[in-house]
Symmetry: C2
Subunit: 964 residues, 2 copies
């Protein structure tokens, strides 16, 4: 009687199981064009090189260790034992194995830190245990067959579909379903514009399959992957590469690598790439190489989706961010160029620089150094005055405001882009996973526990047993007391580094002062005339070298300091490291620039009362054209120099050198094997030869420091965006080349955003407003000019401005010994001029700051307040006006939500109807009667009537078959 | 052969269904102590008054309409027809009704806006249709039995458990599961401290059941409600009241009320309350009344959980916010009082005020008005100088910084509290629901559509059919073009209001100037001596009255303007309304204060060159003690006056008046019925007599404006937090009384946060920094004192400060006609003094701003920059240091996540084992064989071996019984 039902169920299950197996099959056999042809020669199909020996299962991950063949090492394995227990975020298998114990502790890795390099035997033991765990988790493992005396052993892992799908379920990875929907077609003008824009953009799009999908109107609904809903999910894209990492990394491999049990662990590249790019049926790596990782493609958009598919979300986001940044640098550079040309065009009509160059207005200036220097005419500084105008003109103020808004816009734009990417990469609902603690943290924790244990043992022998209970130890954690020494060292080191940077800057200043003094005293007139150029040039180069060296040192110091803090997780570690490294490197890169912008020439004193360092050398003053031009030179040289040198030497040269070293070392170690089997090198051998990937931090850091150059002092150097743009166009392809050809494939890490970098960017943006306000009002002559024109000028024009800015000095007031010794002009001079607002010698308070000084100062400060508040308000307005979620995305999200509910409801309804008809056919009258009676006994009220028969069925079915 | 399986299934279903029905039963029979006793007299059990006529089903919601008995009104119902289609966010029932059509359109309500007041017959039709829809959705409806000629008809709705559970599933409402876990016990000092704190706090805790749970160590896991997982869910708390609203509101009831089809719609109160509070077995309303809504409980914490349970999350959050704000006002008030007393204690030793009061230093001041006023001695202003010192002393600067940090801390604290509440109210995963559009929006959209239709008809008769297709019209929306007129009116109106506020302020200034001039000219010496007091007092009172009147007007104008913008949803409407109302009311309340702080006395000119308005009246100057004291008076009067008047008149008086009106009107309309049946009044009659709830906006607005008083000008009035605190302690209980006793029960609205109010608060906090910076540096004498002490004072003390701030004026330079006409001092005076930094008459530039002026100005501006950046940096640091998510919450969240996975995994595993044993017993060898063969045919590879038998079962079972 019940046969139809059971048969139906079996049929249903069978149907679904076939479908499921089909998908499993597709993954596990690595989708060869024709499966029957699997007896092909291995060497002929390059893709076979990525597979297990059966040529069928794909190698998803590779573990490498170094071995020496010795059979007698199995020493006391029970004593030094490193046991890894999964951190419980997923079970080791669906087996009945009881995992209660393992799960109560959030993360428990017991690492015995006995001897620093445990004997090989122990390592073998640990490896066996680890690999056993991996097998328990459902992974398939292939070992090397070769038996050499020593060398690298490769353990290849394959994750069968079953394991992947389990992981996908746990990670709530979203996959597209079969249900698609049409996007609303735009009509009229908007559609035409859109189409035109698409066509115009066509040549800039990389030629990558599926990239076109982005523009199609049909979207597929996506939903968290569930093995129960396989029939709903589209089979076209199983899981993107993103599953590779969390599966393996989290099980403690980092600890093992840190302890030297394994040498390295990495996923395999998608195969080889041909530099010429003619291969047919390109793999993803080849595609990336051809369409992305070459300089010829510099004008194209990046194939971000493919990058994400190949390298994971985190790296995908980096390149997407870099792309957005570079793109937005284009308008900034254009405006910068316009501003620069505005300055260039108006230099002839600019009255102050005209006045400075005018030889009729013969301002006799006070000497620039004691005794050795002569009085001089201001018109000799004509060149710098004109150059100064290029960067110090009213357009600069506009440009500074523009760039502050640009920075706000950039951040908003990136937020939107990030949300778009999150949406198109199906990360919208991603939750943060609990992370495995870092090996270092675990070690320290263990040490602490052991110390405690020992203490307790000493005190009382009885309690020892309790200490070993996991429920006790599981709650233990490092408190601030354990970290206190680390924090103290941190603070003092950072202060020390700060002092170091300052003293570096100061020594360069001393260098400049002494050299220029010495050169000025030289009898050779040619030396004398080149003082300023020589000194400035050499000083900046020294600065640059110091910055580059300290940069490397600070990077290492930051890492060391962060280790001392013992952060618990890798994310935590990264964040702290980034903050510290940023702080140090920022300080390092900007200290000399800050000095020039805000301090240089402000403590030089005045004629007759100069400030001396070491009792002998006068503090340096700015060039007669103002400090802005010096700031500009400093900025451009440091920015360009840093970028060129870092790009060429640090990013290209050093890796090549490292690789050379490694190859040499390897050759030395095992020269025979490699020479013997050149033809049989598998993909894992090739990949192992590449450089390991060591995080995105240096890449981001470089860009953020550059962003600082672009935003912080932009008021003094409008061409900064242009240089940044040129650099970035190269940088993108350089990084791309590195990732595709020179690095092992990185673990794919899921990420929703660029993390702390966004905060740093936004902080820099805010900081740039106040810095620019100060640069405009204090470094440039913008405010004094305005004040002169509107307060002091009798004609309302700029005529007489130069005269107004120069104070008088009575040469008889020179201190003895500071008067120019040999002077061509000195004989008939009673007054010399200097640039400052001070009372003339004949006033009641000679050489005191004049009323002009205070009014200009008030105007400067007022401008800072105005500028800062205005620009911050405008930036906030920009951020408020631009919605964080692009409109089309929010519309699509809403639509998808509705549709998804529909899909599941429809599905449920269909099943319900099916089952219902089945049930009503099957259930005997007797049973129905029975159920009814039981209902009435339990509810015994008149209300029961409404929970009628159909209703109960509905409920029963929904209980059993919901989500099936 | 298959009987065991089927039997097992039936048993399983039966077991679960009994459980389910039990829960249904508990809800639907409204948990009476003994169910058998249901023949009790209705009047004896007050809770029966909340039920349907059967005394069993609880009334969840009430719809009211006004009717007149006329049987002939059924006019042409097909023409004017208002049909409501559910907005598709949930189905109208699990019935087989095809809902495809309704769901494709996101939200579609067709409202025919024919005549403004459709005939009664149409209303009856609409009501029938609407009630039919409600019934289709599973609701149970009871109508009034009474048949009177006309009056109010009450439709009572009951939502059976089935409907509630369906809604709960769709809304993903979290409910506690049976699984509980222990929180980590703190040990040692922390635990002792905690315990002591708890005990100390005990008298402040309201006596509400379950409130103690908050402190217990046992927490229950919560999970999204699912009918499939009933056995996991704890039955102790079904759904809190939160389901009442979304169920009914969303189905378009607002549209119907707006169209007059229904009079009102509200959920019922929990029963009556006894003012004395002696009732046994208190209902929630009584509890709230006793423990919350009375002044005697002013020192207690609020029972926030109970408030939320009774009124919903949105109102719960308001009171929680108000509580946090009031609590944090305590430290602010304490510091404010200390600062005030510091001023009071140091007034005797304060050199500037001593100097002002010193009659030996006889500064002869220039007259305060033309002709009528005489020269005067500064020592006569001794009183104000001393009063001024109370508020203008160095502690004020500290207090301003403190209050800025306090504001940042308050915001951070609230964020944490909000997250805690979200967590304990199980809102963490709440998603925003798509909202029903507002009636107004729909009307305008329909009009637009009709207009379009007409246009198209005129052009081409053929396309008409397409226009009616829902897929076409569903995508239509209002573009900026439709809204343009609204926006234009908005902008111009806001500008107009702005002008109005300014002119109000200006007229008060004119009033002050003219009255004081007139009074000064009065011959009566008593009038003359009271000029300042009289004028200031009357002017402030006029200001206050103007503010209060404009406040009401602006509230209405803001609502009107927002209607013009045609926002789509209610949330949208609310946000825009709030922003506009805030802008207008803020401007209104603060304009006079801004005037006093920053403009008064700054445009008065100097002796001999005064500024005149209307050619006749001199601009007013600040009192001799400085503007700060005036600012302080202005601030305190407006703040106190506004609060007192608003609390007493607007919040108590006007509602009472309104109620009186309504009662009178009702009596007039139907005097008989009410008198007739005084004993039979049901809860819905009682509730209908209460005032309808009209949103939280006025409550929030009042508090935010108060927050402005507390933060914006706190530098000038350190007692503001104290007054705010006193007001709020009363305000909380006042509001509570209103909600519990005077208002109909509001719809429970789910909300995660306080919405746009948070942004306004944070904006005010930022704005307050700059305002305080300006108040300290420009309104107070803090900076001039500092500058004098460190730049000009010869002794380094404050001696001689008063002399330094007063400039000289040669009385011979008075313009003709402005010299004092009658003067007791005037004969032997050549110089009079005035408060300003100007050159003396004997300098080369007489009466120009002196060097001191510019240096003080520079110092003032510098202080603003310093203060602003310092305080903003510190606030950011505070916000950064205080984590948004409290640590214990984030720990609990992590723990819960892990535990939840465990619970479900365990459950699944148990079922799996059960079913597995079942299957392996049942399935014949034959069938197994069959399955195996099919496997092999489909996979035909050696890999299949590993997908062994057990594996398949695992999968099949998981497919079928997962989540059961």
């Amino acid at each position: 009687m019940h046969e139809p039902q059971t048969n139906y169920e079996i049929r249903l299950h069978y149907k679904l199981s076939v479908q499921l197996k089909q998908e499993k099959f597709e993954h596990d056999t690595f989708q060869l064009p024709n499966v029957a042809n699997n007896m092909m020669d291995m060497d002929q199909d390059p893709r076979k090189r990525l597979c297990f020996a059966d040529g069928r299962r794909k190698v998803d991950y590779v573990l490498v260790y170094h071995y020496r063949k010795r059979s007698s090492v199995r020493g006391s394995p029970s004593q030094h034992r490193l046991s890894i227990i999964s951190n419980g975020s997923y079970p080791l298998g669906v087996e009945e194995k009881d995992q209660e114990g393992g799960k109560d502790e959030p993360a428990e890795v017991v690492v015995d830190v006995g001897p620093p390099d445990p004997a090989d035997g122990e390592k073998i033991m640990i490896r066996e245990e680890f690999e056993g765990n991996l097998k328990d988790a459902g992974l398939e493992i292939e070992h090397d067959k070769e038996n050499k005396a020593h060398g690298h052993a490769f353990i290849r892992l394959h994750a069968p579909w079953q394991v992947l799908s389990r992981e996908a379920e746990f990670l709530k990875i979203k996959v597209p379903t079969k249900k698609s929907y049409e996007l609303r077609e735009e009509k009229g003008l908007a559609a035409t514009m859109n189409e035109a824009w698409r066509k115009l953009n066509q040549p800039f799009q990389p030629k990558v399959p599926h990239q076109e999908q982005e523009h199609s109107r049909t979207k597929f609904l996506s939903h968290c992957f569930s093995r129960d809903k396989l029939h709903l999910q589209s089979s076209q894209s199983l899981f993107p590469g993103i599953l590779r990492c969390p599966l393996f990394c989290l099980t403690g491999i980092t600890t093992l690598i840190a302890n030297g049990v394994y040498d390295s662990a990495f996923p395999l590249h998608d195969g080889d790439f041909h530099p010429s790019g003619q291969a047919e049926g390109k793999n993803d790596r080849q595609l990336l190489h051809d369409e992305w990782a070459r300089y010829g493609a510099f004008y194209k958009y990046q194939p971000v989706d493919l990058i994400r598919k190949y390298f994971g979300e985190k790296i995908g986001l980096y390149f997407a961010w870099l792309g957005v940044y570079t793109q937005l640098l284009i308008p900034a550079s254009v405006v910068g160029i316009i501003v620069f040309f505005y300055g260039w065009a108006t230099v002839e009509t600019n009255i102050p620089s005209q006045e400075m160059c005018d030889e009729d207005q013969n301002f006799t200036m006070c000497p620039l150094c004691d005794r050795a220097c002569d009085y001089w005419h201001l018109s000799t500084a004509c060149g710098t005055a004109r150059a100064s105008h290029l960067f110090d003109n009213p357009a600069t103020v506009f440009f500074a405001i523009f760039m502050s808004l640009w920075a706000a816009m950039f951040l908003e734009h990136w937020k939107r882009r990030q949300i778009s990417l999150n949406y198109s990469w199906d990360l919208t609902g991603m939750e943060e996973e609990e992370e495995h603690p870092r090996p270092k943290y675990e070690t320290i924790l263990l040490q602490k526990r052991q110390r405690k244990k020992k203490n307790k043992k000493n005190k009382n022998e009885v309690v020892t047993l309790n200490v070993f209970l996991p429920s006790q130890t599981g709650h233990e954690k490092l408190t601030w007391r354990d970290r206190l020494p680390g924090y103290l060292i941190n603070i003092s080191s950072i202060l020390f580094m700060f002092g170091m940077t300052c003293s570096a800057v100061f020594s360069v200043i001393i260098y400049r002062i002494t050299i220029s003094a010495l050169m000025a005293m030289s009898p050779d007139p040619e030396v004398k005339s080149n003082v300023r150029v020589t000194v400035t040039a050499t000083a900046v180069i020294i600065n640059l070298v110091v910055i580059l060296i300290l940069d490397e040192i600070y990077g290492m110091v930051a890492a060391w300091l962060t280790e001392l803090e013992i952060p618990k997780t890798e994310t935590n570690f990264e964040e702290r490291l980034i903050l510290k490294a940023f702080l140090l490197k920022f300080m390092n890169a900007y200290a000399p620039i800050f000095y020039v912008a805000f301090f240089k020439g402000r403590f030089a004193g005045r004629p007759g009362d100069y400030v001396y360092v070491f009792n002998d050398y006068r503090m340096e003053e700015c060039a007669p054209g103002g400090c802005l031009i010096e700031l500009c030179i400093q900025l451009s040289i440091i920015m360009l120099g840093k970028q060129l040198i870092q790009n060429n030497i640090f990013e290209i040269g050093i890796p090549k050198l490292k690789k050379l070293c490694r190859t040499l070392k390897d050759k030395e170690r095992a020269p025979k094997e490699i020479v013997e089997q050149p033809g049989r090198r598998q993909q894992w051998h090739l990949d192992y030869d590449l450089e390991p990937f060591d995080g995105l931090t240096p890449e981001y850091m470089e860009m953020i420091i550059q962003f600082g150059f672009v935003s912080l002092f932009v008021a003094s150097f409008p061409l900064a965006p242009l240089f940044a743009l040129l650099n970035n166009v190269i940088e993108i392809r350089l990084d791309a080349k590195k990732f595709v050809t020179e690095l092992r494939r990185p673990d794919a890490i899921r990420a929703k955003d660029i993390g702390i970098w966004y905060n740093i960017l936004s902080g820099l943006g805010k900081f740039s407003v106040i810095i620019n306000a100060f640069v405009i009002s204090f470094t440039s002559d913008f405010i004094p000019r305005l004040v002169y024109q509107y307060m002091y000028s009798e004609t309302g024009t700029m005529h007489g401005f130069i005269n107004h800015t120069l104070s008088y000095f009575n040469v008889s007031n020179f201190k003895p010994g500071t008067v120019p010794s040999i002077s061509s002009l000195g004989k008939d001079i009673t007054f010399c001029r200097y640039k400052d607002y001070r009372e003339p010698p004949w006033s009641t308070e000679p050489y005191q700051f004049s009323k002009q000084y205070w009014s200009v100062l008030a105007a400067r400060l007022g401008f800072v307040i105005l500028f800062q508040n205005l620009v911050i308000t405008m930036s906030m307005l920009v951020a408020w006006v631009i919605p964080d979620v692009p409109k089309n995305i929010s519309e699509q999200l809403k639509k998808e939500k509705t549709l998804l509910v529909d899909v599941f409801l429809n599905e449920e309804k269909e099943k319900l109807q099916l089952i219902q008809s089945l049930f009503s056919r099957d259930l005997t009258q007797e049973q129905q009667e029975e159920l009814k009676v039981s209902d009435q006994t339990s509810l015994s009220s008149s209300q029961t009537a409404q929970y009628n028969h159909r209703d109960r069925f509905t409920w029963i079915c929904s209980v059993c078959l919901k989500d099936c």
